[in-house]
């Protein structure tokens, strides 16, 4: 991905070329150590490797080509921003990643130091001119999921115009009305940006496309219940991460192929880890590209991750939008209902998440749960205590980890995770 055409494109996007080269080389090395070094990988992983190797290359080129044809690019940082609307306006939807320390010192000029790594990362990537996705976006949609993000978008808006959706804090009827109004407001804003009218037909197609994508990911989740585990947690996380920025039709087809391969593998009784390997569910904050630290530490102990209860995981894929409506109003209602099911820790109360974690753990036959909170993420750190209590009542062991993107605590993490895995044996 270092060919000169890419370089020219990055230059046009006004990236800091030297820093960007350095970032890609670190990423490449990371990827080699964490993904390519795995044994017994699926053939379908070639797609993942290719997409990742061209993450700042060919995919960005596709975005530029789409833009040249008059399509717009809409970026978001959260699973509350409805991709269905973007697709209905023939625009391209990208989830902006924010999973690495970059431009941290710069970001700390805009947000306080005790802000989570994810927020600092998206601000840092913009300020350090390292992310070709942010630079390709015609519209960035933020949301009011937590105080950190809410205030960060105010600051971010000064350097990258940001549209903010108001996510309610409860699941009451008036809260749902607010959210429905927000979806409609967003739809109008997207129409204005793209110059396209979102007709019922187009929205229906948008809903269908995103549902298909979620169905493929649901299929993957279900297949991971098999023993021995047919796919590593790292590769499955990567699938979920890629779902946020690859073309949805291509992604869905490729992941269904990968699931076909998994089914054949399961039928042969094969897996990536021995049958008696401890099976762990990850639960908590999203792990955005390239935040592979904890999964790598966990799977290096010989355990295998069999599910991700996170926004880059089942929180984003568990629920589908009802496809039966034919009117715009009906579809917006269906969208509102589906998105209000998201069990984000920003809601109070959020008891359904406890049920969802417990059910998922059972569904994938997890022997234990590792709860992951980003340092300074108040909502999920709070819920770690609640999840712990609930799982204790279920008789399922849980380890609570609080960390960020830095590597300084890797040795301590290893010891804690290994010790947890030892207790399961």
């Amino acid at each position: 991905m270092t060919d000169s055409a890419h370089k020219a494109m990055w230059e046009k996007l006004d990236l800091d070329l030297n820093a960007h080269d350095a970032l890609l080389s670190v990423l490449g090395k990371f990827y080699g150590d964490i993904f390519l070094a795995q044994e017994g990988r699926l053939k379908g992983a070639e797609y993942l490797d290719f997409v990742l190797s061209e993450v700042h290359g060919l995919r960005i080129r596709e975005l530029q080509e789409a833009k040249a044809l008059g399509r717009k690019v809409i970026g978001s940082f959260c699973v509350f921003v409805p991709e269905e609307i973007t697709l209905a306006a023939e625009a391209v939807h990208v989830g902006l990643c924010a999973g690495a320390d970059a431009g941290t010192e710069l970001a700390e000029q805009l947000v306080p130091r005790n802000t989570c790594a994810l927020i600092k990362s998206f601000i840092g990537f913009k300020m350090a001119r390292l992310c070709p996705y942010i630079e390709s976006c015609d519209m960035i949609v933020g949301e009011t999921t937590c105080d950190g993000k809410k205030k960060a978008y105010e600051a971010f808006n000064e350097i990258a115009p940001t549209y903010v959706m108001e996510v309610p804090q409860t699941k009451s009827a008036p809260a749902r009305e607010l959210w429905k109004a927000e979806i409609l407001r967003c739809l109008r804003a997207v129409e204005e940006l793209t110059g396209r009218t979102i007709t019922p037909e187009r929205l229906k197609e948008g809903i269908r496309l995103v549902n298909e994508k979620r169905r493929a990911l649901q299929r993957l989740t279900a297949l991971r219940a098999a023993s021995p585990a047919p796919i590593s947690g790292r590769d499955a996380l990567l699938v979920n991460q890629i779902s946020f920025y690859d073309d949805p039709v291509r992604f869905t087809a490729k992941i269904n192929e990968l699931c076909d391969e998994l089914e054949a593998r399961i039928a042969r009784g094969e897996g990536v880890a021995p049958k008696n390997a401890p099976r762990l569910l990850l639960s908590g904050c999203p792990m955005a590209v390239p935040n592979w630290k904890l999964p790598f530490v966990v799977e290096s102990t010989g355990a295998v991750i069999v599910g991700e209860e996170s926004c880059i995981g089942t929180r984003n894929t568990r629920d589908l939008v009802d496809e039966s409506a034919d009117t715009l109003e009906g579809m917006i209602d269906a969208l509102a209902d589906r998105y209000m099911k998201i069990d984000c820790a920003c809601f109070t109360p959020n008891t359904e998440r406890l049920d969802n974690v417990s059910n998922l753990a059972r569904q994938v036959h997890a022997d234990g749960v590792i709860h992951y909170s980003l340092l300074f993420c108040q909502p999920y750190t709070h819920e770690a205590l609640k999840v712990d209590k609930r799982l204790a009542a279920d008789g399922l062991p849980m380890l609570s980890i609080e960390t960020d993107y830095s590597m300084e605590d890797v040795e301590q993490l290893k010891t804690r995770v290994e010790a947890f895995v030892e207790t399961l044996g």
């Binding site: 062991p397 609080e402 300084e408 605590d409 040795e411 301590q412 010891t415 804690r416 290994e418 010790a419 947890f420 030892e422 207790t423």
Partner: protein, 253 residues
């Protein structure tokens, strides 16, 4: 002979077990070259297998030994070692050079554990560092602190800031023994939080080098309401518990 090698941040301990009995005990500081120190410890010993533990547990692969090698975490090692001394143990507290661990255990198995994460606040290193302010050896620091009374509250749990706090208390004319006691209290307070998170139950086994400190022992007894020797059990050579546990793990494998 089956060996347990505990490669810690401050010291390395070696314990050899034959037919369930301890027949070898050695110890050296870790220094900047733990591999060389391990080789010194292993000098003249012909193990049938070796189990590594401690933060440097993976260094055992580089010792050039031709016997079977394996590694377990210090959490498991301390639980096993503590249970061999005191099978009735319900909780194990290990305060080592750079970390503190609290575990609830049943029959030598860890049920739940807590560990300090990034920083060495409240560990042996904290005592070593702050003892330096009083210009006395860490081994004598506990005895020294026991001579204090009315200890001032040390509010910082950061080792570096605690030293600053101690220095300014001295400048204010507080008795140094009282300040030393305050520093010990700060450690025990932090430890107690950890013990409570794993649902402290007696008997509590206290291991690690800091278990040799009489002031920490006394304060731990005071703050948990436990009695030393009945509720709070301290093994002979508490700093060898991790290496012992590793050796015992090798014996049972």
């Amino acid at each position: 002979m089956i060996l347990g090698l505990d490669i810690g941040s401050r010291s390395i301990e070696l314990v050899g077990v034959e037919d369930g009995a301890v027949t070898l005990v050695r110890r050296l500081p870790t220094t900047f070259d733990p591999l060389a120190q391990c080789s010194k410890l292993l000098d003249g010993v012909r193990p049938s297998s070796l189990v590594g533990t401690g933060y440097g547990r993976n260094l055992i692969q580089r010792l050039g030994l031709d016997c079977p090698l394996s590694a377990i975490t210090e959490i498991k090692a301390h639980a096993l070692g503590a249970a061999s001394h005191f099978p009735e143990a319900r909780t194990v507290l290990d305060i080592g050079g750079q970390d503190t661990k609290a575990m609830s255990v049943r029959d030598g198995r860890v049920v739940k554990f807590e560990m300090n994460d990034r920083c060495a606040a409240g560990t042996g290193k904290f005592l070593e560092y702050t003892a330096g302010v009083f210009q006395i050896a860490v081994e004598e620091f506990g005895q020294y602190a026991l001579q204090g009374d009315n200890p001032p509250e040390i509010s910082s749990i950061c080792t570096v800031f605690a030293e600053t706090e101690a220095t300014s208390l001295m400048a204010r004319g507080e008795r140094p023994e009282a300040i030393a006691l305050g520093l010990h209290k700060a450690i025990v307070k932090r430890t107690l939080n950890m013990l409570n998170r794993v649902n402290l139950a007696f008997p509590l086994v206290f291991s690690g080098g800091v278990a040799n400190n009489p002031c920490v022992r006394a304060l731990l007894a005071g703050s948990t309401g436990g009695e030393i020797g009945r509720d709070i059990l301290i093994p002979d050579m508490p700093d060898m518990v991790g290496a012992l546990g590793a050796a015992l793990h090798g014996s049972s494998a």
